[in-house]
């Protein structure tokens, strides 16, 4: 065996991932050399980067089954090298990153337009730094590198969010995002600080070995929940999502919502199940309750939105809620009855993360194309685009069905597994939990069902009906790069939906790493066509048979109807009960579609209504539904901070001798204290 084969044999997946990270950074820097060359950056740089994403995803799949590998990079501070580790959990999230970003990057290739606010080269650099930072977050094996990558991720995405920085609202949205990202980072930093247990070693390996008491473990968990929750958008730290997502360019929104939120889920799973030595049952209850609140809150607010990207941002909050419910359920099962049920709940959670990455990216990119071709983000001014943009509309329909949680696509598969896990909760040994947790599943179903409502609104108002504005007649369909990106993500939704047993078999490596149990063998016991929750008698589901059944019935019906009856069709104006002079303004607006939800769930909203008086010559009605938490939590907090800083501001006198006095007093105090 010569040296080159040895080198090749020792070439592990982790090296490939590192290579991709370097490759991405290099691509970003390369883009700077031709900052204004849209053709080069769009048609060469981004497709090449998408190829890198694909390689990353494939490497992730290969790395799932291989034992954990570690690398130490002699970078960073002296005596404080970067530790990297690739285990099954990291590999899973790398697949998510690679799979979703492959579609987003190839879409981005067609997204550049001359005259857009941010210089293309700069955008390419930030975009690739963002990708690389996310990959490093997933790979990091010490708190130091983790925080460096985490901050790089936050900053690069901040600059991407504020790429149209000349608009004041976008600057405000960016500030809010940065603020909450850093509040969260403090929480994460503190949780790492608690976990290293005072011996000053910040590698994850040392944290795994440390012995924390239940109290300190709980403190760590809560800090991590706060810190990662701020990034994921868990109530009450969700306020940045509906501001930042609409502000960012659509591929960036897709990347943030589809992938970056999942890095927070990754962190939560890493800390809770891998780094902490114990998992207490009440953590699960906390996570479950927070998740339920977040999911319901998100979907209710999504229902009343009028901006299509804000709607999707709130829908992301809902999905993060569902994922958090899954984590909570896993914790409850894991703490009470370690067994395959915890693995089932965890598999459902991870599956939903992957699904959300695909369908939410798809829908954000769909809004991107709509935005580009109509210059309109408000749902009240869209409509009827299925006739002008068939590619986008039909691919968007795939995303809509997937996110609404309907069979046979992917959203349903993970939600089905989650509900199956819920169906086992009456068997929990704690009498209160065994009664209350099943009722919680009703809240999850309410959120999922309302998500269906929201998606009918989203799709119906944008793509169906009559165009609400004249200019929509000039809307054009997506270009070829955009189509490829959309098709890739839509295919992902279909494939993930049709092969749940295969996905669960792959997830086994992760669930056995985190909970010590596997579900794949159970899931695939009735053959690859079916997915089985715990036993075939208990429940099974076969999306492929579903699809085949529907398609067969559809064709049979179609052929029979055509064969036995004539196919004559006349066209005429819409009937609408015979009312004449129908205009596009008589359709449901986005506000109208959301109105029932606003009325039924009124206590959850902060509603400002302006009613016309009976004598108004020009009557106007205005109803605004706002976030109650904004008024109950954020504004008082902001006022408090302002008051405190006013008080501190008293110290700031602007004269040099007073500042010298301060230094002198500080010195004296320090001397007294350290004496």
């Amino acid at each position: 065996m010569d040296s080159s084969t040895v080198a090749l044999a020792s070439f592990q997946p982790i090296d490939v991932v590192l290579g991709i990270v370097v490759f991405w950074i290099a691509l970003g820097v390369l883009g700077l050399t031709a900052r204004q060359n849209l053709r080069f950056i769009g048609h060469i740089l981004f497709p090449v980067s998408a190829a890198g994403s694909l390689i990353l995803a494939v490497t992730g799949v290969l790395a799932l089954a291989t034992p954990p590998e570690t690398r130490v990079l002699m970078l960073g501070l002296p005596d404080l090298p970067f530790h990297l580790r690739l285990d099954a959990l990291s590999a899973f999230f790398l697949i998510l990153l690679g799979g979703a970003s492959a579609g987003i990057s190839i879409y981005s290739a067609g997204y550049f337009r001359p005259g857009e606010t941010l210089v293309a080269g700069l955008y390419g650099l930030l975009y690739h730094l963002f990708l690389a930072a996310m990959a490093v977050v997933i790979l990091a094996d010490d708190a130091y590198l983790f925080m460096v990558a985490w901050e790089a991720m936050a900053l690069s995405s901040y600059f991407l969010v504020t790429s149209s920085h000349r608009i004041p609202e976008i600057r405000r949205a960016g500030f809010l995002y940065l603020l909450i990202a850093h509040l969260g980072a403090i929480g994460i930093l503190l949780s790492f600080g608690v976990m290293q247990g005072g011996h000053g070693d910040y590698t994850f390996a040392a944290m795994r070995a440390s012995h924390l008491t239940d109290f300190w473990a709980s403190v760590t968990f809560l800090l991590a929940l706060f810190g990662f929750g701020a990034k994921a958008g868990i109530l009450p730290l969700h306020v940045w999502l509906p501001e930042a997502h609409p502000a960012a360019p659509s591929p960036v929104s897709a990347l943030m919502s589809g992938v970056m939120l999942k890095t927070a889920i990754y962190g939560m799973l890493r800390v809770t199940f891998d780094l902490l030595p114990v998992q207490l049952p009440w953590w699960g209850v906390v996570a479950l309750l927070l998740g339920l609140l977040t999911a319901l809150f998100g979907v209710m607010f999504a229902a009343v939105q009028t901006d299509m990207k804000r709607l999707l941002a709130y829908s992301s909050i809902e999905n993060i809620g569902v994922i958090l419910v899954g984590i909570g359920l896993t914790l409850v099962f894991h703490a009470y009855a370690p067994g395959p049920l915890a693995a089932l709940a965890l598999a459902a959670t991870l599956y939903h993360c992957l699904n959300h990455a695909f369908f939410k990216s798809l829908l954000f990119l769909v809004t991107g194309t709509v935005l580009h071709s109509t210059h309109e983000r408000s749902l009240g001014k869209l409509g009827g685009l299925i006739r002008r943009m068939p590619w986008v509309a039909w691919l968007g329909l795939v995303g809509t069905i997937a996110i609404a949680g309907l069979p046979p696509l992917n959203g349903f598969a993970s939600e089905w597994l989650l509900l199956q896990a819920f169906l086992a909760t009456p068997g929990l040994p704690s009498p209160y939990l065994s009664m209350l947790v099943p009722v919680g599943s009703a809240a999850v179903v309410l959120a999922i069902a309302l998500a269906g409502y929201v998606m009918v609104k989203f799709y119906g108002v944008i793509f169906l009906g009559q165009p609400r504005e004249e200019k929509l007649a000039e809307a054009h369909d997506a270009n070829w790069f955009e189509r490829v990106g959309l098709v890739w993500l839509a295919l992902g939704c279909v494939a993930l939906g049709l092969a749940p047993a295969f996905v669960l078999l792959q997830l086994d490596h992760v669930t056995s790493l985190l909970t010590g149990n596997a579900v794949g063998a159970t899931a695939a016991q009735s053959g690859w066509l079916f997915v089985v929750a715990t036993s075939p008698e208990r429940a099974s589901y076969s999306p492929l048979l579903f699809l085949l059944g529907i398609v067969t019935m559809l064709l049979i019906t179609f052929v029979l109807v055509r064969k036995f009856y004539h196919g004559r069709v006349r066209t005429g104006p819409a009937w609408d009960c015979g009312y004449p002079q129908q205009t596009a303004r008589m359709q449901d607006t986005a506000e109208g579609f959301g109105q029932p939800v606003k009325q039924i769930f009124e206590p959850f909203f902060h509603i400002e209504r302006q009613m016309p008086s009976p004598f108004d010559a020009r009557p106007r009605y205005q109803g605004k539904a706002d976030d109650k938490l904004w008024y109950a939590l954020y504004l008082p907090l902001a006022r408090l901070v302002e008051r405190l800083s006013m008080l501190i501001g008293v110290l700031q006198r602007g004269r040099i001798h007073i500042y010298l006095l301060y230094s002198f007093v500080t010195l004296l105090v320090l001397l007294l204290v350290t004496r």
Binding site: G384, I386, R387, L397, I401, A404, L406, P407, W416, L419, L423, M435, V439, S441, A442, V445, L446, A449, G452, Y453, M455, V456, G460, L464, G465, Q466, F530, P536, E537, A539, S540, S542, L545, F546, G549, I550, V551, M553, L554, V561, F564, Y565, H566, R568, V569, R570, T571, G572, P573, A574, W575, D576, C577, Q582, Q587, D588, F593, P596, V597, I600
Partner: protein
């Protein structure tokens, strides 16, 4: 295997062909209760025949989604009919979906109906779509809670297993199932667009829900939708029977029991249809914003049923 495929085909065809009869029976009963002579139980077939022979009139701006949706709805309902055990439990296709997946299949059909309702872009179409989705999303949590109780008893969400456990094991009376059954009846009324949530006979513009959504359809498309909603009623009845009154459904391979099972099914459907007609005659349609209260009551009953199961029956 061939026998079970035969029973699969037999049951599916039976439901698809006889579903309009159930609808006709309900309408006839209601006519009798209202002192009318009625159009006869075969009237739905005449309507379908008439609709299939007419020329379809499409709105000028209808997209291809509008023309596809009726076929999707029909296909979904036929698929459900091939999964719910009605006559015998040996259905090879039943393993493809448990009862939660069935709810998903109903929801898929509804999504297409709602999207098609919004497609032409008329005031009533989008109003109907919005209301239908609203009622459905409020009904679904209640439906899940209802399904919890029988699936706790049978330790399964597969309908065939539930039927096997309830009908073919030791006979036990479960009080929890009574709560769940009442709640199921309420949810089924809402999901099938019946009084008191919706009125299938109305064309009063502002009270319509389901009818408003399909206002723009005509001829064969409308026929498929009407047929699909007849099958949906039959399917919902069959799910109710499987969960709460499964006695009589033949066990797998028990060929002698089939005629008896058919008779039992017919009897249950006749009685159920008459009860539905009675209920619709006695009650009035409620305002749309009363629907949350109605469905909330169903939800509470279902939770009571589940708690009764957990507290009393162990």
């Amino acid at each position: 295997m061939t026998s079970s495929i035969f029973s699969q085909l037999f049951q599916t065809l039976l439901v698809v062909l006889l579903a309009p009869l159930l609808l006709g029976w309900v309408n006839q009963c209601r006519a009798w209760l209202q002192n009318k002579s009625g159009a006869g139980v075969l009237q739905p077939y005449r309507v379908l025949h008439k609709l299939f022979h007419k020329d379809a009139v499409l709105a000028e701006n209808a997209s291809s989604l509008f023309r596809t949706a009726p076929y999707v709805q029909f296909a979904c309902m036929v698929l459900v009919a091939s999964i719910v055990p009605m006559v015998a439990t040996d259905l090879p296709f039943a393993a493809a979906a448990d009862v939660i997946a069935l709810v998903g299949l109903f929801a898929l059909a509804r999504l297409f109906a709602a999207l098609a309702g919004m497609d032409v872009g008329t005031a009533f179409g989008s109003m109907g779509a919005r209301r239908e989705m609203l009622v459905a999303s409020l009904a679904e949590p209640a439906l899940l809670m209802i399904l919890f109780t029988p699936s706790l008893i049978a330790q399964s969400t597969s309908l065939t297993t539930i039927v096997e456990v309830l009908a073919h094991h030791r006979f036990v009376l479960y009080p929890s199932l009574a709560f769940a059954a009442v709640a199921f009846a309420m949810v089924a009324l809402a999901e099938n667009a019946r009084i008191p949530i919706d009125n299938p006979a109305t064309h009063l513009e502002l009270t319509m829900i389901h009818e408003a959504m399909i206002l723009e359809y005509s001829a064969r498309h409308l026929a498929l939708i009407e047929w699909a909603s007849a099958i949906k009623l039959a399917n919902y009845s069959a799910v109710g029977i499987a969960l709460f009154l499964p006695w009589g459904i033949a066990a797998a391979g028990d060929w002698q029991a089939i005629p008896f099972a058919l008779a039992a099914l017919l009897l249950k459907l006749l009685l159920g249809g008459a009860a539905l007609a009675l209920l619709e005659t006695l009650s009035a349609k409620m305002r749309i914003f009363r629907a949350p209260e109605f469905l909330g009551t169903a939800f509470l009953l279902a939770v009571l049923g589940m708690l009764a199961r957990l507290l009393l029956e162990r």
